[in-house]
Symmetry: C2
Subunit: 540 residues, 2 copies
């Protein structure tokens, strides 16, 4: 067989040859913008010429600080197909972390959305490697800025030639990079090769995983700075899906309106987003959302209660699992063909599992004793992975890498059980498991159960040190506004008493206005622990 490299160029060129008439719709600062892939390709070529004129060479890092828009999509292809490396900056990181990762990656160019220029200006003094700034000037007016040298994206493209010969690239070359949202210490970088992204995109189009198709109208709600919007823009361009880029407005009414307007068929995002949509619909808001074949939910466990809520409105949710280190697709929950006879209740339960390993990867689950655990749906262990789109190290972090990447495998840090059919359930992060009286309590499981209470919006459960039991659970609970003052802590405890083992009942329920979140929208248990550590110590 030919030594044909697996690179993003193949994705771009197939789109160019076959899908010139299909559209990309982008909700920009100035309103909805719409163009064809034919125009997209022309602008990718122009952008590649602009990057070349800025002396961007193979391996150079080009960073983006941007929302999900058509311009960001152009960068997704022009940068790696030139041979450079696309570094997507998480705009929700702290300024300190943002400056850290720009310096650590040695970004040479930063391309920034117009409204995010002030954020970049605020750390300008701390970043040392950047030679050029490009502003994605949607309004047609360049903002006044102290960044320099600075260029207008649109003016630069307007002047650039619209032909570019994309080079053949070695498949092991870096194409993109992304930093994990650190819960402790500095963010850690993961480098994605062309080969990894190519194979991962193939896995997304697999009929039994996400099944991305030309027939799809795909709206990536998950940010493009969060594991490349789970790789979906790459796969969508490859197979010619219509792409709907929702921009910065990710509130439930804006998203529902856009799904209705564009007849979106599939949308990847975190459960918090889908919870917002469920609440909006429960409040009586009316949208025509029947085009949806799947909301793809990942980034955090999908509570069974949320699957039920959305099912009431005939909205199917597909549970998926992955992480920055895994490009990210690892598990997708689809029932097997012989599971058609499952009851609705059993299907909900199955849907709350993260699902089956996608083709191309390998997994094993290692128990406390270092041995693989049996797949009985009960015993727990840490999920280990290997495969062609699993990271082999953290970028320039040999020390941390040694803890996570062991014997050719990656330790996910996620504690799981696997049922006899192979459906994986993430029980907890290893560090969030609660060890009480020698037994494990899953904080995720407790959270999902509490979420089943009608009055509850969200909840986070953490371990609190305990003299006698070692650790005991504490639950922070956010009530619906209409339920505040009506529902008591005792009501929640009574609700749990019918549903979980007695020793799982949290020692304390605390009502809060919201759960602190990380820059990627996940519950920050680290912050919660810091908030309540002292309080608990006083009580003991």
């Amino acid at each position: 067989m030919m030594e044909y490299p697996l690179t993003l160029k193949n994705l771009l060129m197939r789109n160019r040859q076959l899908f010139g008439k299909k559209e990309v719709v982008s909700r920009n600062l100035t309103g909805d913008f719409r163009y064809t892939y034919r125009d997209f390709y022309q602008r990718v070529c122009k952008l590649a010429n602009v990057l070349t004129s800025l002396d961007i060479k193979k391996g150079d890092k080009v960073a983006t600080l941007a929302w999900n828009t058509h311009r960001h999509l152009e960068l997704y292809f022009a940068v790696p197909c030139c041979g450079a490396v696309l570094h997507t900056l998480n705009l929700r990181l702290s300024r300190e972390h943002l400056a850290y990762i720009i310096n650590h990656a040695e970004d040479k160019v930063i391309v920034v959305d117009e409204d995010l220029v002030p954020l970049l200006e605020s750390i300008r003094d701390q970043i040392s490697t950047v030679k050029h700034f490009i502003v994605l000037d949607d309004t047609g007016n360049m903002p006044y800025t102290g960044l320099e040298p600075v260029y207008s994206y649109e003016q630069s493209l307007a002047k650039a030639p619209d032909h570019y010969d994309f080079p053949d690239i070695d498949e092991w070359s870096p194409a993109a990079m992304c930093y994990t949202s650190a819960t402790t210490g500095n963010p850690k970088g993961v480098v994605y090769t062309h080969r990894g992204l190519f194979l991962h995109a193939m896995a997304l189009t697999n009929a039994d995983s996400m099944g991305l198709s030309e027939k799809d109208i795909l709206m990536p709600v998950v940010p493009m700075f969060h594991v490349n919007a789970w790789g979906t823009p790459f796969a969508a361009v490859w197979v010619g899906s219509t792409l709907i880029m929702p921009g910065k407005k990710l509130d439930p009414p804006s998203l529902c309106q856009l799904i209705e307007q564009e007849k979106v068929t599939a949308s990847p995002g975190v459960p918090t987003i889908w919870m917002g949509i469920a609440q909006l619909l429960e409040s009586g808001a009316q949208y025509q959302l029947s085009s949806l074949r799947a909301l793809v939910s990942g980034g955090a466990p999908l509570p069974e209660a949320l699957i039920r809520k959305l099912d009431k409105f005939n909205i199917p949710v597909m549970h998926a699992y992955g992480m920055t280190e895994t490009t990210p697709l690892v598990l997708v929950s689809n029932p097997k063909s012989y599971m058609n006879s499952l009851s609705v209740e059993e299907k909900y339960r199955l849907g709350s599992r993260q699902g089956l390993l996608v083709p191309g990867l390998e997994m094993k689950v290692i128990g406390e004793n270092g041995q693989e655990i049996p797949w009985d749906g009960k015993q727990i262990g840490e999920l280990w992975l290997r495969g062609p789109w699993i990271a082999k190290e953290y970028y320039k972090e040999p020390e941390t890498s040694r803890e996570t990447f062991v014997d050719g495998w990656m330790r996910t840090g996620d504690i799981v059980n696997v049922d006899e059919e192979g459906y994986v359930l993430i029980v907890d992060r290893a560090k969030d498991l609660i060890k009480s009286g020698g037994e494990w309590i899953s904080s995720v499981d407790l959270e999902n159960t509490i979420m089943g209470h009608d009055a509850v919006v969200e909840t986070a459960v953490i371990a609190i040190p305990h003299e006698k039991w070692q650790e005991r659970p504490l639950a922070c609970v956010v009530l619906k506004e209409s339920e505040i003052e009506k529902v008591s802590k005792q009501d929640i405890l009574d609700f749990l008493r019918e549903r979980v083992a007695k020793w799982w009942i949290p020692d304390e329920i605390i009502f809060v206005n919201q759960i602190p979140k990380t820059s990627t929208g996940k519950f920050s248990k680290r912050i919660i622990r810091e908030m309540y550590r002292n309080r608990e110590l006083q009580q003991q």
Copy 2:
């Protein structure tokens, strides 16, 4: 990203972990056999131990001379996952060619179906590299044979341990090989790497190509000695499709009965097979075939008339294209989402095109002047391909390889046009095109038109040398039995007069009882040419 090799081991291991309950059904000499993938895996391990005990080492060739059965499927995985190379022998080759390819490949073991032992005995004296014979003894009785040393497959497996540690293999290692059915000269070998078969299997599961899924009940009618049954057994095992192996009885009633019995959803095969099924249904035979989502038709162009015939019985056909050198999947014909408004007639016409390039490959079409032709649905040129599952050479044939493999591309020898949407139509084999008075006549196009006549079963059109016009078409036509004596040559010519340009009308129609076929079931135009060359020369 990890340097994780893309090998068939990943396919086997995923099946083992996830699909132990799913079934393989095999129509054996002794009747229908049925077992689970759990049993399949155990026997694959036993077989691997048997091969090891015969001193089969990395790179050794293990040949099969066998029908599509569960035992052949076991060989498909045990041989390459051990590190050896699976060489599938085409049992329809001439004895001379069969002996040639066994010697050329240097097969060390031949595994042979019980009823094919006499074929192998007949060439025993001509094959020099084979050290062991294994008989797939379905009846439980080893046939009396002069082959030696010879072993019973079932007895060997019964004694072998059922655990085997499959090695990690370099992805560039050979996994399988197959010889093309030679139309001239000796057959030429193509070697498939693990990487090529892995990526090709991924392409088969792509939602817009064949979309092979766990939900499928797949019946490979295309022989497993014909480009690995188009790679479908590999993909099916990977994603856990139920596999129905039809054995040696490929007559229309047997196949229809099996589709009905097992509720087959997808079946790959050549158009001749599907034509037989269409005729059976037209004759009034009743079968329940509504489980079929797609007959996948490849190996030869699918006539529009056949699509129409099958559509009358609500049987969808999916047109695909490939060749031994391309593993084989290259093109699949599926309408794009915005083509829903096409009329039924337009959809038939689209379906008769071989379709769109699957993700992962690259194509270009080179015209007579050596330049790429425009995609206008009219201009013709030769299809050139490159990609990770395209061969780079013929096995041990440097001379022939140089003609076909040029500048990193493979010349298919197929003349095509491409419409503006990217749908490729194979107009003809380069050597079958008829050049008349400076213009091209497509023999395939003429054949498809003649096939549209209700009385016609099949037809082959060839070029006959002509003094004035250079070449002129001659058509060999097979009539339905009931129409013989009723339909005249003039009727066929009149039928054509309304449908093709005047100068396309064949100079002669010859009624024949059947069209000579190659060992893979394709029309052998070489034989037809030899038959009629003299006759035409006399007429001129």
